[in-house]
Symmetry: C2
Subunit: 267 residues, 2 copies
Amino acid sequence: MNNIIESLDNQKIKEVRLLHKKKYRINLRKYFIEGKRIVDEAILHGAKIERIIISSSYSWDKEYLDTISGSKLKNVELLTVTEKVFRSIAKTESPQGIIAVVHKEERSLEKTLNKLPREPFIITLENIQDPGNMGTIIRTAEAARADLIIITKNSTDPYGEKALRSSMGAIFMIPIVEVIGMEWIPLFKKHAIRLIATDLSARKSFVELDYSGGINLIIGNEGHGISKELLSLADEKTVIPIYGNIESLNASIASGILIYKAREKRK
Amino acid sequence: MNNIIESLDNQKIKEVRLLHKKKYRINLRKYFIEGKRIVDEAILHGAKIERIIISSSYSWDKEYLDTISGSKLKNVELLTVTEKVFRSIAKTESPQGIIAVVHKEERSLEKTLNKLPREPFIITLENIQDPGNMGTIIRTAEAARADLIIITKNSTDPYGEKALRSSMGAIFMIPIVEVIGMEWIPLFKKHAIRLIATDLSARKSFVELDYSGGINLIIGNEGHGISKELLSLADEKTVIPIYGNIESLNASIASGILIYKAREKRK
């Protein structure tokens, strides 16, 4: 085993603590993940891992450490730290002694669209605020094998701890592009991808909709739905009917129902 | 305004604090709800409210207080307490100065089944552990106008604070019966209600299933799915296919997809 880092002031350790904040995740274009399961998912799905940090108070399998260290996985630095140092960077209560720092994949929407299948299945999250919903929708999108997720800038950070946890590793499997404003809309017109918006006042039920061809399902904010601006640009509006006395469905449930309906009809 | 309760040791105030714990909610057959919106929902939907407690530091509309006090709503006691006393019983950070103590509706499954429509749409939650999932599934069931929810004893408490909040008031709208063991199964056979279980190893996709007649959709535990015992008693097994690299769907998402498919096909 390498030298064990004992100082809370080590620069690489301090960086992980900075990554607890969204601001630094944006500036440094990195995030961190905690726990063996999600680190393993990141390795398996080729995430750009910069460094893996393990606590010296756990017993680690030699072969596992070989796999995650430089010998088998290129360019990944393996650091061992004391349990005290580890606790200072962990955000969850039982991170099983392992944390990884990962580079965000910075993708241009135009280039990404050009690489997708001819008639892609895209999901856009506009201003989703709850990290649990964010992660769950990413997980559902991957389960339905959508091709791309677009996230508007005013949404909660998909690379925050709770969103990552709720995504169950899907964040490493499905491409994600973050966009600002509405500058991305013309690209969809150019690629003949229809924008489909859910709207409680729409007349057409989601079961009657045509989901064939290139589509982009837009999921709106938990409280306010899709913004007026984006709604006015949608090619189709649809509603998931509410039959009971409740006002609305939870945002991630509505997304799940719509995403699986699209997948069912596209087959 | 009545006398203002200033003592943290007042018996009725101590009782609310006890209701923070599941054990006392079970023993006393009561629970408490916080915030104006959910209290209003409880009043509107005829929940058995025992008492409403308001903080004296909020300004209350006279007509609203008349509505929720004995003059218009029978048998409801209205208590005013100091903000300090109020803080001692509130569980959320901004409960808007209002809390209500509500009696649980204790229902027998047999009597409840006899009162339902001839071919009911029932949802059973077996060993659901996450309060957010619990509340969200109840909300979705009401949105799809299911007739009844059955909850097995080893599940998280649907009357806990987070489950109540996630249910968005649906807990007052759809009947809920809590059951122990498997003694309830023969009743379904007697009423010709089919037990439909989701199972990742089932062959039949949920889109091909027949949802007509009396049905009971069983939703299993987040990590382990439906118990072997219950699975062996199911009349039909079905799967929501996973097309991507993820292992499974979130339990409340899977429930939402299945519940809305059943509603779509039953229409």
